[in-house]
């Protein structure tokens, strides 16, 4: 009886050791199947499309789909890069001082004001873009910002700026106040304290928020679609849509464009994963 039980436990443990990773692989594989399909098809000659489901591996690798995609979309890629980087600079550039100011004001007597400000920032993240973009169109029309990279940087920062400020503030709150006070005592001005003490310390949070702002702007479609209507400025998301609707049969280059559009996500996952996880949690759970 006892012997039987321990044997059972032994096999159970053994089975778990093998079955758990296999189950995990199955779950992950299932989730990533569409991405696998995308990469695989993008590397295949278009004529092989008919035999898609039969072959899990491409019959032979080609890169011509990528050449077609790149020829068609390289302008959009540059546009999207400029917009995303601009949004990062604007969001972090405005958000970091704001986070510093809010943190310090919180130490002074303005706690209520600060918590209202934080609440406003939280709420702005929940405003649907469509409720803004109709007014943006009219506003940008008057400011001559329609169909411009600057306009899209400003619009895309609506999701980036509040997020960056919140993440940075949560981080700055964890830096001991004595550090900046010490600099202050040593005669550094408020600006100097901010620039030479706080900003360097906040680098991890700057990276986190910067990565997210980049991803938001890079993935933005709503503003790209509505605020460039009929114009020449074409971010990659908008370019991808028109490329797709113009190539309903020839999917290879379209899926190659999808892969190009997903490169930042892949890079960020590869190199900045801990920042991503930190940002996910900070953005969701802290106020």
């Amino acid at each position: 009886m006892n012997q039987h039980l321990t044997m059972q436990a032994f096999w159970k443990r053994r089975a778990r050791r093998f079955l758990l990773p296999i189950g995990g692989l199955v779950i992950t594989g299932f989730m990533l199947l569409p991405i696998y399909f995308t990469v695989e098809t993008s590397l295949e000659p278009t004529s092989a499309l008919q035999a898609l489901s039969q072959s899990l591996l491409p019959s032979h690798f080609i890169l011509s789909n990528y050449r077609v995609a790149f020829d068609a979309e390289h302008g959009s890629i540059i546009t999207s890069l400029l917009i995303s980087l601009g949004a990062v600079v604007l969001s972090v550039g405005v958000g970091l001082p704001a986070a510093y100011g809010l943190t310090k004001l919180g130490y002074l007597r303005s706690r209520a004001v600060v918590s209202v400000a934080v609440m406003v920032l939280l709420v702005t993240q929940m405003v649907p873009g469509i409720s803004l973009t109709i007014a943006f169109y009219k506003l940008f029309l008057h400011l001559h910002l329609l169909n411009s990279i600057a306009g899209l940087i400003l619009a895309d920062s609506t999701s980036g700026m509040p997020f960056a400020t919140l993440v940075l503030r949560a981080y700055l709150g964890s830096i001991p106040a004595e550090l900046s006070d010490a600099a202050y005592v040593d005669g550094a001005s408020e600006w100097r304290t901010f620039r030479s003490v706080i900003a360097p310390l906040a680098v991890p949070a700057i990276i986190t928020s910067g990565l997210f702002v980049f991803l938001f702007a890079w993935g933005d479609f709503l503003f790209a679609y509505t605020l460039t209507a009929g114009g020449s400025v074409t971010p990659l998301t908008k370019g991808l849509l028109s490329f797709f609707t113009n190539n309903t049969v020839n999917w290879g280059p379209v899926l190659a464009t999808v892969v190009l559009a997903a490169i930042p996500s892949g890079l960020i996952l590869g190199f900045g994963q801990r920042y991503v996880m930190g940002g996910l949690r900070a953005g969701a759970l802290k106020g």
Partner: protein, 354 residues
Amino acid sequence: MPREEPPPERQATWSVRATASANKAPVEARPGALPDDGRMPSLSGALRQATPPPPKGARQWLQSHRRQALLVAFVLPALAYVVIFFAYPLIYGVTMSLEKIGFIAQSGPFIGLHNYKEEISDPVTGKALVDTGIFLLASIFFQFTIGLGIASYFNRRFFLSGLLRSLIIIPWLFPPIASGTIFAIMFAGQGGIIDETLRSLHLISSPIFWFDSSFKAMFVIIFVNVWIGIPFNAVLLYSGLQDIPGELREAAALDGCGAWQKFRYVTVPLLRPVSLIVIMLGIIYTVKTFDLVIVLTNGGPDNGSQLMSTWAYTLAFQNFQTGAGAAVANMLFVFCMIVAFFYIRATRREVAIG
């Protein structure tokens, strides 16, 4: 209680002030701010000795408020941004919804709540409202349950678990328009991989045209949105599960609880706060969905898969009914603000407990 401990904020206030005054003029900290009981940080103690007695009154007021004003200046650009890019467009959106505007670049006369009345009785708006509700409920339900399943699976450590866990996030990091394109191609009626697979499994005999009925189109949109949302739910629920001390489950096991009972009486109640937050964030992300619909169905067939967001877009940018579009967008906004209210209430409580 022998001696009163200064409350933490006051202590912070005091040290900031003291250092502030040390910087420029030899001004002392607020008089009688705190008793010097030897428990102050040494820095402040040193300061106190170094600075001569303070001139009281106006100068001191200026000193402390100067610092506050300086800090407000740090916040000012962000404030300006929020006013110009949130407050102003939202107010402008309200005034537009009260006007009879056709083409978006034009302006029109004030017509009161006419746009709202018209849109509420409009059958397409009604369907968009219902579809948005179905989309929301179905998306959240499946994202959450599947996400929770994945989170609990990965809650046990095993070979490769860390790597696989991080790979699962990928769909969430993809630009939604890219995910939408992938699935538009996968669901294509002729030659799409889903159709081909179903056919080679002999589950269907003729191609399914996924986008030719409102029901099927909505199914696809929900399917893709669930795929995108699962990672977000899984990651946050995973961190919620990790925060539950293992001893609690062990104690329950010692008390004779089975797996289900442990889940029901330990995991579920302790995961409740995180779940609430995840669900509310999910609602907000989901209700904003726009890209997916445009690339998958473009609202069709025959406006059969319009959500409130895409319907507002269609009205304002394509149907030359900008006033009506603004009205629909505002309805969506009000809904989001109601969710936001509950979200903030929940996170505040969460913060208070944590």
